[in-house]
């Protein structure tokens, strides 16, 4: 909770809602008749509407990427490290838009919102959405905001997948694509982790096949385990060793099953705080969106063919200790772009933070990211003044 807002923060921000009544045809074959998208914006949109940046969030993200909702907030938005005045995504230069994706649980239409047809929460009836569906809904938001072409679309992890989708589906609607700690699809190991997450959620006795809202409970045990597993895989072995080692909370072992090691305490805390802020049905949907993402599949597995039509310039970044979205996967993206003679820069950032590194202000990361964003800024067409 800041007594004074930090100078490099965008400060107090207010989420907005866009309601859409034009039905959205989804990959799963179903249709969303109407839906809401909650979004936030930071920084001024120029008169040519050419300095807009779209931020795509990852699995547990939301529209609140930067700043504070009130002076009572304990924490700023999830990507405060990169968005703000003077930061890589400089709000003095860019108009930044971040939305909560469909199926999310932070205001946009999703399982925890009311299905207008039944008047009851969607729950497990909310359709499974894909990264392609998201890009389409985001394009509609861009239409609504009067943004024909983004200066850049930017995302990390699952957010990076959305950036790829944008570049493929709307090649003329973005000048730059910034893909951080992402992958062209999930490995079997990654899908396996997601399946453990789903089993943890679905086997919780309070899950009630996703209808837990009506029972006035949440599958908190499942959510906790799911998040604990996630956290282990987002960190590296080295990062965990450095952070916790074998440190004991009380300095001695107690021959019991209460928290003894610091790492247990950390995981339990992360699990518990997640229960308060996240929804199990949304978590399930997000893991499915991850598992299904595979733009090369439509081209016989050929990623170069999938990216043949992209026109955006690319900045791809990965982190050396990220084993969930390893540098090898980012290099596949780079290779496919090079095959098509696309404009691309690639940074493989030395970091021992694991997958989480993409949210951490590591100096070299912020330097290359900031440098690239200066190029994005330089590429904004000069405003025509009358």
């Amino acid at each position: 909770m800041p007594d004074i807002l930090p100078a490099d923060s965008i400060g107090l921000v207010t989420p907005q809602v866009a309601h859409f009544e034009q039905p959205l045809r989804l990959d799963c074959g179903r249709e969303l008749g109407e839906y809401d998208l909650v979004y936030e914006t930071y920084g001024e949109l120029n008169s040519a509407r050419s300095n807009a940046i779209l931020i795509c969030h990852a699995l547990s993200g939301d529209a609140h990427a930067a700043g504070y909702h009130s002076m009572k907030d304990k924490k700023p938005g999830w990507w405060e490290s990169a968005i703000g005045p003077g930061k890589p995504i400089d709000t003095n230069r860019f108009h930044v838009v971040c939305l909560n994706n469909l199926g999310g649980c932070k205001g946009s239409s999703g399982p925890n919102t009311v299905n207008p047809q039944s008047g009851k929460p969607w729950g497990p009836e909310f359709p499974i959405v894909t990264v392609r569906d998201w890009a389409e809904s985001q394009a509609r938001l861009a239409d609504r905001l009067g943004i024909d072409q983004w200066a850049a679309v930017i995302g990390g992890s699952l957010g990076g997948m959305q950036v790829l989708q944008w570049a493929i589906d709307y090649p003329k609607r973005l000048r730059h694509a910034v893909v951080i700690a992402a992958a062209p699809n999930l490995t079997a190991q990654n899908i396996a982790f997601n399946e453990v997450v789903r089993q943890a959620l679905r086997s919780d006795p309070d899950f009630h096949n996703g209808h837990y809202y009506e029972h006035g409970v949440v599958p908190s045990g499942g959510l906790k385990i799911a998040r604990m597993l996630g956290h282990i895989t987002y960190l590296s072995d080295d990062a965990m060793r450095a952070k916790f080692g074998r440190e004991l909370r009380e300095g001695k072992i107690n021959f019991g099953f209460d928290v003894e090691f610091q790492v247990e305490s950390y995981l339990r805390y992360q699990g518990e705080s997640f229960v308060e802020r996240f929804d199990a049905n949304t978590y399930l949907l997000m893991t499915k969106a991850l598992d299904y993402f595979d733009p090369a599949a439509a081209h016989g597995g050929n990623l170069s063919a999938a990216l043949a039509g992209v026109e955006a310039k690319f900045f791809v970044a990965s982190f050396t200790s990220d084993w969930r979205f390893s540098p090898t996967r980012s290099r596949e993206i780079v290779k496919a772009l090079l095959d098509g003679d696309k404009t691309v820069c690639y940074a493989e950032i030395e970091a021992d933070h694991g997958h989480d590194a993409f949210l951490i202000p590591i100096p070299h990361y912020m330097d290359v990211f900031g440098s690239y964003m200066k190029q994005v800024y330089a590429d904004i067409p000069p405003e025509v003044t009358v």
Binding site: K335, L338, C345, E350, K374
Partner: protein
């Protein structure tokens, strides 16, 4: 803009307009930046040092952060470039032979520069001084040098023969990258930096 380093100036003379260039160990992107602006060249650089990645991006040079010792086949198919350039990098590689082969595979022509270990000062320091040479071109001591595969013009040319590589052009310059008469007469003895333009025999027609 400050003047281009003379060896880079020589190299850029050898590169035709609007060609595709890959620069292995592109440093801060000076050469590619120059080629892009002066010759409208479409290029990519490979580089490992974080600070150089930032400099390249600042210049608008397409740079890929990677370790050349891990090879370049991961990224590039055969015949992807008109020229593959490697300035003052070969001697710091763990696997120079493999990299030379790969560069001749992904590019039609190669341009390589390296410090000549056969220069008379190197020879004199070893022969008369009895210690590993230290010079302006090779400023490090044996225990802290990144240059682990030093060679002479003769050595390089014999490796080229072994790999079926034809030498199209050769220049030698001194440590300030200036042409000297001596370098023309006795290049392996009087040239400090060697600059080669090479092509696979089978591509030469």
């Amino acid at each position: 803009m400050s003047e281009l380093r003379p060896d880079l100036a020589i190299i850029s003379e050898w590169i035709s307009h609007e060609s595709r260039v890959l620069d292995l160990g592109c440093g801060d992107g000076t050469l590619l930046d120059h080629l892009k602006r002066q010759r409208n060249v479409d290029g990519y650089g490979l580089e490992i040092a974080p600070a150089n990645i930032v400099s390249c991006i600042d210049k608008g040079v397409n740079v890929i952060q990677t370790d050349l010792d891990a090879g370049i086949s991961d990224f590039f198919d055969e015949d992807s470039f008109d020229y593959v350039v490697m300035t003052q990098t070969l001697q710091a590689m763990y696997y120079p032979e493999r990299l030379l082969k790969e560069m001749m595979r992904v590019g039609r022509e190669g341009i390589v520069t390296f410090p000549n270990f056969g220069h008379w000062r190197c020879r004199a320091q070893l022969a008369l001084g009895g210690h590993m040479p230290v010079s302006t071109t090779l400023p490090n001591k044996w225990y802290n040098t990144p240059n682990i595969h030093l060679c002479t013009l003769k050595d390089f040319e014999s490796l080229c023969r072994k790999l079926g590589i034809r030498i199209l052009q050769r220049s030698v310059v001194d440590h300030a990258h200036r042409y000297r008469l001596g370098g023309k007469i006795l290049p392996n003895l009087l040239g400090e930096i060697a600059i080669y333009r090479i092509i696979l025999e089978r591509r030469f027609s």
